[in-house]
Symmetry: C3
Subunit: 263 residues, 3 copies
C-alpha cells in the first residue's frame, strides 16, 4: 500500500512560512505522509474562490485522499473546524462553506464531524493559525489510520456557499464570470450542457462584446480572437486564443455573461 | 526500488487548478508515484522558453525519470502528443519542439512514439486540457511499468525548435539573450567554451554597454557592477552583482550580445 | 522507516530552473529522498529575511530532517559552506548567518562542519551555483546515511546574524517590524511574552498610528480595523482584520514599533 496523500490548499501565498510550518507539523506526526501542494494562491480569505476551486481539483484524487483547506477569515472566532467525507474524499476545513460545492455531485449526505478532541491538536493552539495547530495534526493522525469519529461529534448543520446560479429566460441563459484562470480565461457559471436548452445555436455577450459561435478548442480561432467554448471543467468559458481575455475585455469575476439563441 | 518519479513542467501558473488536477489524475492511476514540480511558470504558450528551460533541468534527474511537459498552444488541434526517450530520460510532450534542444547532447536517435492508444487516456478527453486527460494518465501508466510501445506507433518526424545560433566572425562571437533568470541575469546562446576561439581574452557588448572582462563568479566584482561570466549551465551570462541586469540594462530576450577579442 | 526528508529553501523564485536542477541532483544520488519545498521566495540574497524565516519553520519538522538553504550572495567567494546540527535538525547552509537565529532556543553548542570533501560534491562545481553542485549532493549523501563528519572538519567559528533587539525602557518596549507576511501583517521583534513586563496593559504605536488594545485573534475586531496581537510565532504582530496592514499603514521592514504601558 502506498504512503498516504495529504494535499494542502491555502491562501498563504507561495513560499509562505505558514505553509512550510504546516508541512513540518504533518511530517512530525506521520513522517510517511506524502504532501501534495494544490494551491497556495487562493486569494486571501476568499472562501468564494475556494468554493469554485475545490470541485475542479478534488474529484481527480484517489479515493480517501486527505485534503487540508485553510482559507479561514474566521480563525480564532467561534466558527467550527470540520472533517468532511464527500465524493469519496476526506477534507479538513473551516466551517465557512468552502467545500459545499462538492455536494452537488453527491447523492448521499456527507459525513461531517466537528473537530473537538484536543488530544489530536498541537499542545499550544495559536489563536491565528488553526491550519498549523488543528487541521494539519488532525490530517496527520487520520493518515495514520485514526477513525475520524474520534475527532469529535457528528455535525448535521454547516455553512453553505451560495454561488450565483445561471438562469434560463426564454431564449437566453444569464450567468456571470465566477473565476478567472491564470491565462485570463473567463470561467462562467453556465454549464456547457445547458446550452442545449436553447432553441438554436448560441451566441454570447460579455462585457459589451458579442461572440458569434462556440468553438471546441482555442486553436480553432485566429490568434488574438475572442472565443466561447466549454471549459475543461464543463462550464461555458470565454477566452482569447493565445491572449488574455480578462485583460482584453476588462472583465472580472461577477461580470454578466449571456448566451442567446441565434435569431 | 524507489517509487517512480514523475515531474511536471507547465505554463499553468503556480497555484493553478490545472496543475492540481493533473496531480490528482497521476495519483489516481499510480498512488505510489512521486510528483516533483519543476516549474509552472513557463510563460504562457512560450514553447521557446520551454526549449531553453528543459536542458538546464532534465539531465540532472535519475535515468528513466518521467517528465510531463504541458506548454501547448496547439491543444485540441491536429498537433501530436509524443512520448520521447532522450538522454536516458523519458518525456511526455506536445509535438511543438519544446524538447528538441535535449537532442544536442545525444548521439543516438531518440525513441519517439505518437500517443494514439485511447485506453491509456481518461475516458472523456477535454478539447482544451490534454495535459490532464492524455499526458498525465500516460505518464502514470508508464510509471506502473507499461511498455511505451503500447502507447502508439513509432514516429520518425517531429517538430524541431530552431533557436538562434551564435556565430563566429573573425574576432567576434555574435549571439543574443535567450533567457532572463529570476535574478535578472541574462543567459545568452554563446557557449562559454567558445570564448576560447577568440584570439585574445574577450570583452563584451550588450544593450549599448561594454564589459571589459570575464569574471568567475558574481562576488569578484563590486556590488552593483556589471559582469560577464560563464553561467551554471555553461553559457555566457551577463549579470549585475547583487542586482538585476535585465532591469538595469533594459535588455530582454532577443537583445544582441557580442564577445570581441581584446585589441 | 520512512524515506528521508530533504527540504529546500532558496531565493531562486518559484518555477526557477535552479530549484528544479537541485531536485534532480538530490534524486540522482538518493532516488528515495522526499523533497519538500519550504520557500523559493526568500527575497534575492536577503540573508536577513532567511534568518527570520527559518526559526518559524524548521522547528516543526521531525528530528534529523535535512534542510538545504540557498540564500548565498557570496557564492564562489571564500565564504564557507556548512553542515549544522541545531535544535535536533540538520542544515546545509552558506556561512552567512542565515541559520543562527535557531541557536536562541538551543542550550547546547551546535555541531558545525565546514564542507571540504570534494568527493561528496558534483564532479564539476560551477562558481555560481553551489546549491546544485555542493549543498544538494551533500544533503543527498547524508540522507543515505553518511556520517556528517566525513564532509569536512569541525568548525568553531561562523558568521552570526545580528538582528535588531527590542529594548525595554521604563514603561515602553521599543522594537521594529522585522517581517511582512503574505497578508501584509507586520511581524515585530517584540516577543509577545515580554508584554507582561509592562506595568499596565499595553497600547501600541506604529507608523504614526495608535492602537488601544491587544486582541487574541483577527476576528475579534471589525473587518478593516487595525489590531495588535501575538502572532502564531509568538511575536507582537500588527494586522488589519481582512486587510493588508503594510499597504494601509505604508509601513515596511525596519519601521519602529512601540508598546507602551497604558496611562
Amino acid at each position: 500500500m502506498s504512503d498516504p496523500i495529504i494535499t494542502l490548499t491555502t491562501d498563504f501565498g507561495d513560499g509562505s512560512s505558514y505553509v512550510a510550518a504546516m508541512k513540518g507539523v504533518v511530517l512530525s506526526i506521520n513522517p510517511a505522509a506524502r504532501i501534495v501542494d494544490l494551491s497556495h494562491r487562493i486569494p486571501p480569505q476568499d472562501t468564494r474562490y475556494a468554493a469554485y476551486f475545490l470541485p475542479t481539483v478534488i474529484p481527480y484524487f484517489p479515493p480517501a485522499s486527505l485534503h487540508v483547506v485553510v482559507v479561514d477569515p474566521g480563525v480564532g472566532t467561534e466558527r467550527a473546524l470540520l472533517y468532511v467525507e464527500v465524493e469519496g474524499q476526506r477534507l479538513l476545513v473551516p466551517d465557512n462553506g468552502c467545500w459545499t460545492e462538492l455536494l452537488r455531485a453527491e447523492p448521499r449526505s456527507p459525513l461531517v464531524i466537528r473537530l473537538a478532541e484536543k488530544r489530536f491538536w498541537r499542545d499550544r493552539v495559536s489563536a491565528t493559525f488553526h491550519g498549523r495547530d488543528i487541521l494539519a495534526p488532525a490530517a496527520a493522525h487520520l493518515s495514520l489510520g485514526l477513525d475520524p469519529r474520534n475527532l469529535g461529534p457528528t455535525a448535521t448543520e454547516w455553512a453553505r456557499f451560495q454561488g450565483p446560479k445561471a438562469t434560463l429566460h426564454q431564449d437566453s441563459l444569464n450567468g456571470e464570470v465566477v473565476l478567472v484562470d491564470p491565462f485570463g480565461n473567463l470561467i462562467t457559471n453556465i454549464p456547457g450542457e445547458s446550452l442545449s436548452l436553447l432553441k438554436k445555436p448560441a451566441r454570447f455577450k460579455v462585457g459589451g462584446h458579442n461572440l458569434e459561435r462556440l468553438v471546441r478548442t482555442y486553436g480553432e480561432a485566429e490568434p488574438g480572437s475572442l472565443v466561447a467554448l466549454v471549459s475543461s471543467s464543463g462550464m461555458l468559458e470565454i477566452a482569447v486564443n493565445q491572449g488574455n481575455a480578462a485583460e482584453q475585455l476588462r472583465v472580472e469575476v461577477g461580470s454578466p455573461v449571456t448566451a442567446i439563441s441565434a435569431p
